[in-house]
Symmetry: C2
Subunit: 328 residues, 2 copies
Amino acid sequence: MPEFRKDPAVYRWVIIATERAKRPIRPDASDTAQCPFCAGNENMTPPEILVLRDKSDPSSFPNWTVRVVPNKYPALVPEGSATQITDENYEVHSGIGAHEVIIESPYHVTDMALLEETQFEAILRAYRHRIMELRTDRRFRYILIYKNQGVEAGATLEHVHSQLIAMPMVPKLVLEEINAAKNYYEANRRCVFCDAIRKETDGGERFVIENARYLVMCPFAPRFPYETWILPKKHSSFFEHNTQQDDDDLAVILRETLIRLNRSLSGPAFNYLIHSSPLERGENNDYHWHMEIIPKLIQVGGFEWGSGSYINPVTPEQSARSLRAALT
Amino acid sequence: MPEFRKDPAVYRWVIIATERAKRPIRPDASDTAQCPFCAGNENMTPPEILVLRDKSDPSSFPNWTVRVVPNKYPALVPEGSATQITDENYEVHSGIGAHEVIIESPYHVTDMALLEETQFEAILRAYRHRIMELRTDRRFRYILIYKNQGVEAGATLEHVHSQLIAMPMVPKLVLEEINAAKNYYEANRRCVFCDAIRKETDGGERFVIENARYLVMCPFAPRFPYETWILPKKHSSFFEHNTQQDDDDLAVILRETLIRLNRSLSGPAFNYLIHSSPLERGENNDYHWHMEIIPKLIQVGGFEWGSGSYINPVTPEQSARSLRAALT
């Protein structure tokens, strides 16, 4: 059973999950007969939790557009209670949670940017459905959706997919972001993310693109070159409160952002993640959900692991300029 | 000129250093005639700040054992004052600091574990000398020594070297560690690191090796597989307060630890870093300097970037067992 352990010095929980050591290091990518995410190989994954189908022709092959399955090598497991075990100073918490895989296409596509807009819509719908179901489980306090595309970004399978982890605690970085946003709101009576949106809209130097409901920008103090954020223009604390129309607009702009990153950077490995409010909070004035996209261009080294600070050789103004020009 | 930028949401300074974009991506490693760190190529680096020589024969070639030079592509620069510039909500601080390279051998050795014990002693002496000099500059509040060995660990040059960054602020992670250690001390009137040492000495399951003055152990809640710490047994807040005899003992145990990591893991890329007290504090009861060694075995992905939490597939008890057995 996996476990959470708290560092006795730094306030940071790590997940010790020895099951994950059994993951294949790097399975033969070219042999799609062996790809557990391809249509026809559904029996190679654990039974599915959710399947979305294209209603126009239910008898067609493949007969699904998006599947969600439990991660075969989970970092957290759903069984058991969230009992805390404390060995003197050493805090341990049983590794309760959910770890799911969202298979984003029935075909062996390896770059999300190549998917159709309708497929992006289906993926976002799958994210939302899974969050809505998991948030009814009162043991969970936070749900993180994330994607690793490319070996350098941590992917072990190349077939397009993302992942979801539900956990019994709010993770450190989210807590820090929430606390900082709360403090900002208390001081200014404005949301710090809304302020950034206002600042970048209409000729802001970190502005990338926008549509009716979303703004894409490079953040002011990015950890990484070409780090790019997507924010809803209308203040909202929870990704899963999106309407169908919100998702459709997000699908369009996420796809275009990934295409622009591909053009600017020749198809980089990347991560993305969705930062949304902790489950127990309601809609609030201070926290604004958003998506962070992080191309994997530089190696993180001793300075970063030792300081928690980052050296970024590219300004967000340069990144934004390059992304704005990418499709012209 | 580089700059520090503070994220308006999370409390985290990043260093935006566009000079570093000019670094060679991966110079031809095998051509030692082109290696700026090899003896004979001294003119390929900026003028040296410190050079250690083997006194027994000053006329020999090479005529040095360790050289310290400014980083040619610095993340921070020594000129200028530490003026803070604030653009509305966006805090910027000029990128004042020092960024130095410690060249750890005159020969083209690529694995630190292959160096002699006397060479390790010289390297530690160089670290200490540089810190002692830089700490007289009142603009600096923290000095971090770190090493990146191997491309996967962030090294761009393969010749053995480490780096030093002096900066005008205490970095986030060090601040967190210090605050947590202070809280622990206030609650327990004992140092949290001393407690860990006591727990692991004499058959502790995360114990690796020890000598008269140092203990090597895997920490209770490691971020990474085979993460290994070296701690002085006698409580001390500053690495640079080490005596010559302390350094000699550290040289022996650091070398043996790296050899054991090599045996257990077939010569992994790795980082190490020294966590010492901020410069403005004196010796104190709560903070205990130590060295953290992090082999680069797994890719960090969207979960880690989004949560600040880590999934580690290897328990520290497994890592310690493997390291204990590595030379038997």
